[in-house]
Amino acid sequence: MTLLQVCQSLYDSAVGTSIRESDLVFDIIESAHVLGISLLAGTVAIVDLRLLGRVLKKDEISDVLTQMLPLTWAGFALMVTSGSLLFWSEASKMYFNPMFRLKLVLLALAGLNPLVFHTTIYRNVAAWDSATPVPARARTAAIISLTLWTAIIVCGRAIAYYH
């Protein structure tokens, strides 16, 4: 089965169709997705701002990260769930949507960035937990993160403008 065929069967499925033709359900899912931006991107932004030495400067970086990460994961769960349901209802149309495809690529990169961060410079965070300024590589990761999430939000909104 090709990817397009998979998307088409998702689109045609009972679940996909009922969401797509719903009076209220689609609106609720979409609202959760839009408001969830705050929980996911908002908490990511706060961590990035700490890495850039802009907020919570007296807090150790590892402390801020460990405290904020559960919130970010909750946001991620919300966004993936709502996003998947939205995708399910429009799958075959999303297949052709260039902004949707770009958004997925950016999401993958946004996932790769913290992975690299955590497995490299973050490993010896104890050495720079309270450093001022924060090491350049950590600051770079923060800037990449802010840029990617900005682009993801922009792409997400742009999906509606590409039929």
Partner: protein, 157 residues
């Protein structure tokens, strides 16, 4: 109704024409509005959770609030400015929309509440009772959540 006259006048302005003539301006302003929402939500959530003593308890609440406040104000300004541009694209469309007015009332309430709360937290030399602080934190979160929900409802009415 002075308000209707104001909105009708807004619809005649050059800014209104510029927004509605452009093929891309509205979309770009919407995106800026969403970015503001992300940052504002982040600052409000972190402050609320700190006041509920859920997160970042090692630093005084006054310090957490003080750090986040400039970002709260900046993101709020971005939201208000972009919101005004969205409005002026088609003022009469919003004038008749009940969700829009609900959002405006909630926005006013949330803004005033946030400013007062932040002043109290940042400048307090003696803490308020734990209960008062926690009620304030929950109110803060609920107010801004309602603003967001009303905003979504604008599109559905």
């Amino acid at each position: 109704m002075h308000l209707l006259l104001l909105f009708q006048w807004l619809a005649t302005t050059r800014l209104s024409a510029a927004m509605s003539d452009s093929t891309w301006a509205f979309a770009v302003v919407e995106m800026v509005h969403l970015l503001g929402l992300a940052l504002l939500g982040g600052t409000v959530m972190v402050l609320g959770l700190r006041l509920l003593e859920f997160r970042l308890n090692r630093r005084p609440a006054a310090e957490v609030a003080g750090d986040l406040y400039p970002y709260f104000l900046t993101s709020l300004s971005v939201l208000i400015l972009s919101g005004l541009l969205l409005l002026i694209d088609g003022p009469l469309r919003y004038y008749g929309n009940a969700a829009f007015w609900l959002k405006m009332w909630l926005l006013a309430a949330a803004t005033i509440f946030s400013v007062v709360l932040n002043r109290a937290v940042i400048h307090s030399h003696r803490g308020s009772s734990a209960l008062t602080t926690k009620v304030a934190a929950v109110t803060l979160l609920l107010l801004w959540l309602s603003v967001g929900l009303a905003g979504r409802a604008i599109g559905f009415l």
